[in-house]
């Protein structure tokens, strides 16, 4: 299967790839948010411990 065939998926390409992209986007966003939350909390606890 060449690249064009994969992208188009016999006409359904838009739907399939958009859904998978949204899925990966939501996964990545949640992962990023959890890590960001952890960084924030560590920083906050550090600051309250220093003072």
């Amino acid at each position: 299967m060449n690249l064009k065939q994969i992208l188009l998926m016999h006409g359904y390409g838009v739907y399939v790839w958009v859904s998978y992209a949204i899925t990966l986007g939501i996964f990545g966003f949640n992962l990023f948010k959890s890590l960001q939350e952890k960084r924030k909390i560590l920083k906050m606890i550090e600051r309250t411990n220093e003072s």
Binding site: I6, H10, Y12, I22, S34, L35, T48
Partner: protein, 247 residues
């Protein structure tokens, strides 16, 4: 068995460390299943006879819908534990699950809508399954809203537990809605007791993706629970040690 549970998982401090040990393993398992599911779902599974390549959305739609309902079920169990036995870890798990559950429900609705356009010709229809999943989203959002307004930690846990338990009645309604009502949405793909009517080459990627989505939920849940534990136990000695170690 119970003492193992208690030792490793029940107290916040032990949970933090145990979850930290298991997290990389669960993450690796997730990646394995996810990559297998993606590749075989997108490229290896044969195209459907009726729907062509468009059916491949099933590999994100069904897992996300399944996981969204599983997450609410987990929340309801934790709510029960919080109300009856006042187990703090259960309350933390419940609060941390809510936003992930909302995201998965939204994902199910969005991917379902995108799938519906080429298949049924419409982005949305007010049938029983879609309406009840939309209600599930509202239940999640209401839970998050309630928890964000209450300032006292213990009241927040117990109030959230009550509202989560009250909403759990929606889960059987969602699951059986396609059986009870005549609806545009197709019937249940997987059933516990019957041999699935779907071909094996299409089935295995689906099962893998369902497992992968649930493992992803577990990863994010454990991460968020660890963050919540750090926040709640801020004043204790072991947290100070952890923070010093991390920075």
């Amino acid at each position: 068995m119970l003492t193992w549970l208690q030792k490793k998982w029940l107290s916040p401090k032990n949970f933090y460390h145990t979850a930290g040990v298991y997290l990389p393993w669960i993450g690796s398992a997730f990646l394995l299943l996810f990559i297998y599911g993606l590749i075989s779902g997108l490229f290896i599974a044969p195209a459907d006879y009726q729907q062509g390549d468009g059916f491949r959305i099933i590999y994100v739609h069904v897992p996300s819908a399944f996981t969204a309902m599983m997450i609410y079920f987990v929340m309801a169990c934790c709510a029960f534990l919080t109300l009856v036995w006042r187990i703090k870890i259960a309350a933390i798990a419940m609060s941390s699950s809510a936003s992930i559950g909302a995201w998965f429900t939204a994902l199910a609705l969005i991917t379902g809508s995108i799938w519906g356009k080429p298949m049924w010709g419409t982005w949305w229809i007010w049938d029983a399954r879609l309406t009840s999943v939309l209600i599930l989203l509202f239940l999640y959002l209401g839970f998050i809203a309630l928890q964000s307004v209450i300032s006292d930690q213990q009241s927040r846990d117990r109030a959230g537990a009550v509202i989560a338990l009250v909403g759990v009645i929606n889960l059987p309604i969602i699951h059986y809605s396609v059986i009870w009502w005549n609806t545009l949405h197709q019937g249940p793909t997987l059933s516990k007791f019957a041999v699935p009517s779907i071909a094996p080459s299409m089935l295995y990627p689906l099962l893998a993706m369902i497992g992968a989505f649930f493992l992803f939920y577990t990863v994010i849940l454990l991460m968020r629970m660890r963050n919540a534990i750090l926040l709640r136990e801020m004043k204790t000695e072991w947290v100070t040690q952890v923070v010093n170690y991390e920075s």
